[in-house]
């Protein structure tokens, strides 16, 4: 397989995730789409590492995976806080609590 095939596949995944981030209104829906984008980036790391012929891409992906899990934990904590304050997280574009 040429490397370009993997990269275009990952670009497609990233674009689908971007569509989700731009079109979803609920916080969890946006978080799912961000997951898709992070997943596409991990795929690119692995593909480049494979075609370089060393383990550096896999090392980087392990770090990126840990960062993504941390991001999901913080994101879900924010969703739960949002739900407690506003009773709903279905319209995140209307959240104004952090406006000074």
């Amino acid at each position: 397989m040429p490397l370009a095939a993997w990269l275009i596949l990952a670009a497609g995944l990233f674009s689908i995730g971007l569509y989700g981030v731009a079109s979803r209104r609920g916080a969890i829906g946006i978080l799912l789409s961000v997951e898709l984008m992070a997943n596409a980036v991990n795929l690119i790391f692995i593909a480049f590492g494979r075609y370089r012929g060393d383990h550096l891409g896999q090392v980087f992906t392990l770090f990126a995976v840990a960062l993504t899990v941390a991001e999901v934990a913080i994101g879900l904590a924010l969703v739960i806080l949002l739900h407690r304050v506003r009773r709903s997280d279905e319209r995140v574009d209307e959240v104004r609590e952090l406006h000074g």
Binding site: A4, G20, R24, G29, N42, V65, V72, D89
Partner: protein, 186 residues
């Protein structure tokens, strides 16, 4: 030949399930389709001869993150049925944005000379561990500090602020609605 067929199957599974994640009307369906996407990515890692990352992907993503997301959905919705709405808006503009991004990436990939065939490597998980704890030890340690900060941060953000043990200044409190304090507070 066989790897092209495998790539086609994996690519189709990835793209179709990802499309279902962003277009599904039911939030629970979106989360479950994301599980399909993440599992398909694990298969893609296997095709790229990264079996350790593939097993990490299964354990951490399809096991951990999907469970966490389902918990998040169930904790924040109070419907009797599972038809949890997941509205979309601005669909047209979002489509233009994502298609433009895809065109940009594809153009960059096509115009760049990239290797056509992967070099043959020996898959060695022990070498991966040596790489992490050897040349990349600093990043590993920074990551552990970050995980500690995330743990503390998630607890601070999501903890229930009782009136009796309120560590926040009154002007900074977010839950000014007194009705949010009663009910299920233990």
């Amino acid at each position: 030949m066989i790897d092209r067929i495998a790539f086609g199957i994996v690519a189709a599974a990835l793209l179709l399930s990802a499309l279902r994640v962003v277009t599904s009307k039911n939030l629970v369906h979106s989360v479950l389709w994301l599980g399909v996407t993440l599992a398909s990515t694990a298969v893609a890692y296997l095709l790229l001869s990264a079996p350790f990352i593939a097993s990490i992907q299964i354990m951490l993503y399809t096991g951990g993150i999907i469970t966490l997301m389902l918990f998040g959905v169930m904790l924040t919705r109070r419907g009797e049925d599972l038809a949890i709405p997941n509205d979309t808006s601005e669909g047209g503009r979002a489509l233009v944005l994502s298609l433009a991004t895809f065109g940009l990436f594809t153009g960059a990939v096509v115009m760049t000379p990239l290797p056509l065939d992967a070099p043959s490597i020996t898959v060695d998980t022990a070498e991966l561990g040596r790489q992490i704890l050897g040349p990349n030890l600093m990043a590993f340690e920074v990551l552990s500090v970050l995980l500690l900060a995330v743990m503390v941060g998630a607890i601070v953000i999501a903890r229930r602020r009782d009136a009796s043990v309120d560590h926040t200044a009154p002007g900074l409190r977010l839950d000014t609605d007194p009705s949010s304090e009663d009910g299920s507070a233990s």
